[in-house]
């Protein structure tokens, strides 16, 4: 259920002689750039070969969050006694209803990006694949579009691991998992990155016997060790069969049953599953556009090469989003698109490296991060001190039975300059925004101690960390005062 994402009766508008900006790809970056540039008075064409909204709205963040929400409700029903309530008798998961709600949610969120909405906003929408024909022109289904500037925001697609037998096993990816009509009885998730972790937990809570296989010794290899360990424990509590330090070597389909051979160091095992979710890594979409004709350099794995101003090797053409960025997040794509609009149309000099980018893995508990990790800070020669507040020290987390996790805020040693933060909490994704704001605005951690946080809220953990920072800073001062005045 999606509102006219790509109407069948769509006719291309007559193209303008030369557009100020042609945007290729109508995902979060493309939509953001097209609408912002149009609002600023630019003549804008938007080219999309699939569904406006991109992966995020159609096959990524939005549908997954809808399913996660329902799965969390089921988990809470089963855990009702922990909240002084009674477990409902005979909890039965209605998977069809779960997916129906997901589709309703998705339809609502894609409505503002429908072709009709975009056209009404003044954007010329061209549906079809774009092919560059030169440094300042491309074609869409035979229609030639000339441009002063262009932005490529073609997104990414699942990276399918090379596992013998996987293709024959009719594997799932983010592109088709939301089309399931039946809950798999036994699900294998290959890969412990953010999407793999989120969906593994959601499907487990919906009743699938779920196994997650991760090649590395910890989930979410970029995150802090404590965060990854808390997640492992949470998965085990949910009943997920966690196989760390393990890789899939082969998938065999025998009599309709899928058998998956695993190896962990020297230990081999085989599990039987009904469906396999793979492709949790992402590859940039850079093929089929004749980028060579435009003089745009790219790499099939890392994507379109851009400088810090998001300019490609063709000075007229910029890129944004998953097609060129290491951090493949919706909000990063949108922020990059805003930079492109400024730099391409207004001769701006905004830099990608100046962005403070938070991100969140929406497991339960959520894991959110912004800024530097301690290791990165050390690599930059920075000395770091971390102020840690376990969530079990936060009254609202206690009242809500959501004590698992922590707030860790990293500051430059002997200052209160915030370098980064990691939050593991039920609502970490909401809480991290305060830290991001502080970092963008250059607000020190001690200042957050003066910000009154509504009581009782879980965000109080941030104020408690700020209080600890203030105490640590004031301790030597008070000590020296006492030494000055004491009589002995």
């Amino acid at each position: 259920m999606q509102e006219d994402p790509q109407p069948l009766d769509w006719h291309h508008p007559a193209p303008t002689d030369r557009y100020d900006l042609v945007v290729v790809g109508a995902g979060p970056a493309g939509l953001s750039a097209a609408t912002a540039a149009t609002a600023l008075g630019a003549r804008v064409a938007l080219v999309e070969r699939n569904l406006p909204g991109g992966t995020c709205l159609n096959t990524g963040c939005v549908p997954s969050k809808a399913i996660i929400r329902t799965s969390r409700l089921y988990a809470e029903m089963r855990d009702a006694e922990g909240y002084g309530a009674q477990v409902p008798p005979a909890i039965r998961v209605d998977f069809a209803a779960v997916m129906e709600r997901m589709r309703r949610v998705r339809a609502r969120t894609t409505r503002p990006v429908s072709v009709h909405h975009l056209t009404a906003a003044g954007v010329d929408v061209f549906l079809g694949g774009a092919r560059f024909t030169g440094a300042d022109a491309l074609t869409v289904n035979g229609t030639r579009l000339r441009f002063e500037k262009a932005m490529i925001a073609t997104g990414s697609r699942p990276e399918i691991p090379s596992i013998p037998g996987l293709v024959e096993a009719d594997y799932l990816t983010n592109e088709n998992v939301f089309g399931l009509t039946e809950l798999p009885r036994r699900l294998l998730v290959v890969g412990g990155g953010p999407l793999g972790c989120e969906l593994a937990q959601a499907f487990c809570r919906l009743g699938a016997e779920t196994t997650i296989v991760q090649r590395l010794p910890l989930f979410l290899p970029k995150e802090e060790r404590d965060a990854a360990q808390i997640l492992s424990a949470a998965f085990a509590r949910d009943g997920i069969d966690v196989r760390l330090n393990t890789r899939v070597v082969k998938v065999r389909t025998e009599n309709g049953h899928k058998r998956v051979d695993l190896i962990s160091d020297d230990y081999q095992s085989t599990i039987a599953v009904d469906r396999i979710l793979a492709g949790v890594g992402r590859l940039p979409n850079v093929d089929g556009m004749d980028l060579e004709a435009a003089g745009v350099a790219y790499d099939p794995v890392t994507g379109i090469r851009v400088d810090d101003f998001l300019q490609t090797s063709n000075a007229r053409i910029y890129a944004a989003g998953d097609a060129c960025l290491e951090h493949k997040f919706t909000h990063t794509a949108q922020a990059a698109a805003r930079i492109v609009v400024q730099n391409a149309l207004f001769r701006g000099r905004q830099r990608l490296s100046a962005l403070v980018v938070p991100w969140c893995t929406f497991t339960d508990p959520e894991i959110a991060h912004v800024g530097l990790y301690v290791r990165q800070a050390h690599e930059q020669g920075l000395s770091v001190k971390t102020f840690t507040i376990p969530m079990h020290d936060v009254p609202r987390a206690i009242t809500d039975g959501e004590e698992v996790g922590f707030v860790k805020i990293h500051v430059k040693e002997r200052t209160d300059q915030i370098l980064g933060a990691t939050i593991v909490a039920r609502h970490a994704g909401e809480m991290i925004n305060e830290i991001t704001l502080a970092m963008v605005a250059g607000i020190g951690l001690r200042t957050l101690s003066r910000v009154i946080h509504a009581y009782p809220t879980q965000a109080e953990a941030i104020r408690k960390a700020a209080d600890a920072c203030s105490r640590a800073r004031s301790r030597p001062t008070i000590g020296s005062l006492l030494r000055h005045f004491r009589p002995w």
Binding site: L216, E224, V374, E379, K385
Partner: protein, 441 residues
């Protein structure tokens, strides 16, 4: 002497709760008794636990070698016996199969984690363990520093210690990386795990840096410390590591008071002070007791690597998957299933006697069932009390627990092991190459 003789089934010896000296002497002597019983005198190898059929842990052999000097000093064994047992282990390991085959004893100077107590060959398909080898060689070096007489046996003892140390190929154990790998197996090569974050590995790096034959570079130590996290937790500034043993295992051998590497100079602290703070953090956690376990309070704490109840336990009213068996428990994020280790508390004695001694008295007084035969059990769990109200207690005893108890009580009472190792040239060289300065160094 029978190898790996299980402890007596009548474990209700009275804990001497008189003076601190009496209490500590009683517990130390009882802990040493483990090594007297669990050794195979033919090859000097010591069982990992007192349980029937337990294999040898190479680390426990190191702890055993480090306890013999204390036992000699306190008159619990003769010097000749101590030399004989030490030599038995050193001779066996020196002549053992180092081919790295699946049935060997070791490879490249390292040893498999678990060995058969009779034959000394690898069991349980265990890994070639870098840290457990380091703990063994630290024990051997302790013995080498203590037995300094010019008798043929003691001369041979020292020569074999040096030979065992010098043949360890620490550089190979890096596999070309900046930090040392955790393990290797003949079936699959190096394990994927590296040393990430603060851990018990200081002694490993110090010994690896000092080697005149196969040293690692000084940068490796800095690469490891670059993964440290310096945190303010519960009001304490501490180099974070969740289980208590991490703050004890290197410290049992090396007197880290006042010694500072680059990281600690920057933090204006040292590893001894850090262990003191980590001990306080453990107590803070138990006072908060976020999971509401029975028994936890300011004088009852101690989460570490220890044995605990497992899911296989019958008639346990725990939810599935929340009992962890033998695992590294820690604060403040767990794992925590209500299991505590009194041995871990006692092993913090040199760092924070002012809170360890009251806790020790309280725990052994309140839960005497976890001190069978005056030897502290690996773990106990008051939340899993039986019908008689007594806490669940880990069956038998573990050599690591008994070893660390003997060593840390000794360091608290006389600093014997610290003094021996302060004079060990490999230790001082390794510390200096790691960038340590100050204190006795």
């Amino acid at each position: 002497m029978e190898a790996s003789t299980p402890l007596p089934a009548t474990p209700e010896a009275e804990v001497p709760l008189g003076t601190d000296e009496l209490l500590l002497d009683g517990l130390q002597r009882a802990a040493f008794g483990y090594f007297a019983r669990a050794v195979n005198p033919a090859n000097g190898l010591v069982a990992d636990t007192s349980r029937e059929g337990s294999p040898v842990s190479i680390a426990v052999v190191g702890f055993a070698l480090a306890t013999y000097p204390s036992a000699v000093e306190r008159g619990w064994m003769t010097r000749a016996d101590a030399v004989a047992r030490t030599l038995a282990a050193l001779r066996f390991l020196h002549g053992s199969d180092q081919s790295g085959s699946p049935e060997a004893t070791g490879y490249k100077g390292f040893y498999y984690h678990f060995l058969h107590q009779g034959t000394g060959t690898r069991v349980w398909r265990s890994e070639l363990s870098m840290i457990d080898t380091a703990l063994f060689i630290a024990g051997a070096l302790t013995a080498g520093m203590y037995f300094r007489a010019n008798t043929p046996d003691e001369v041979e003892l020292r020569e074999r210690v040096d030979a065992l140390y010098l043949r360890i190929d620490w550089r190979w154990a890096q596999e070309g990386a900046m930090t040392i790998r955790q393990g290797w197996k003949p079936e699959c090569g190096f394990l994927h795990y590296g040393w990430e974050g603060y851990s018990e590995a200081i002694v490993l790096y110090v010994l690896a840096l000092a080697s005149p034959t196969h040293p690692i570079a000084g940068d490796c130590y800095h690469a490891w410390t670059a993964t440290y996290q310096w945190e303010n937790l519960y009001g304490h500034d501490v180099l974070f590591a969740a289980p208590l043993f991490v703050h004890q295992f290197s410290h049992a051998w090396i007197d880290l008071r006042g010694l500072r590497d680059r990281f600690m100079r920057e933090k204006r602290s040292d590893y001894f002070e850090n262990s003191r703070r980590a001990t306080y953090v453990q107590r803070e956690y138990a006072q908060r007791n976020p999971r509401g376990w029975a028994g936890y309070d300011e004088d009852c704490w101690g989460l570490t690597a220890c044995d605990g109840p497992s899911e296989a336990l019958p008639n346990v009213p725990y939810e599935p998957r929340r009992l962890f068996g033998y695992t590294a428990r820690g604060v403040p994020y767990g794992p925590d299933d209500g299991t505590l280790s009194c041995a871990a508390v006692l092993a913090s004695l040199p760092f924070a006697p002012e809170i360890v001694l009251p806790a020790l008295r309280n725990m052994v007084g309140r839960y005497p069932e976890m001190v069978p035969g005056l030897q502290l059990a690996s773990g106990f769990n008051p939340s899993l009390a039986g019908p008689d109200g007594r806490a669940w207690v880990s069956p038998g005893h573990f050599g690591l627990d008994q070893g660390i108890v003997v060593m840390m009580i000794e360091n608290y009472r006389t600093q014997l092991i610290w003094r021996l190792m302060r004079a060990c040239p490999w230790v001082t060289t390794g510390l200096r190459r790691a960038g340590f300065r100050g204190g006795w160094l």
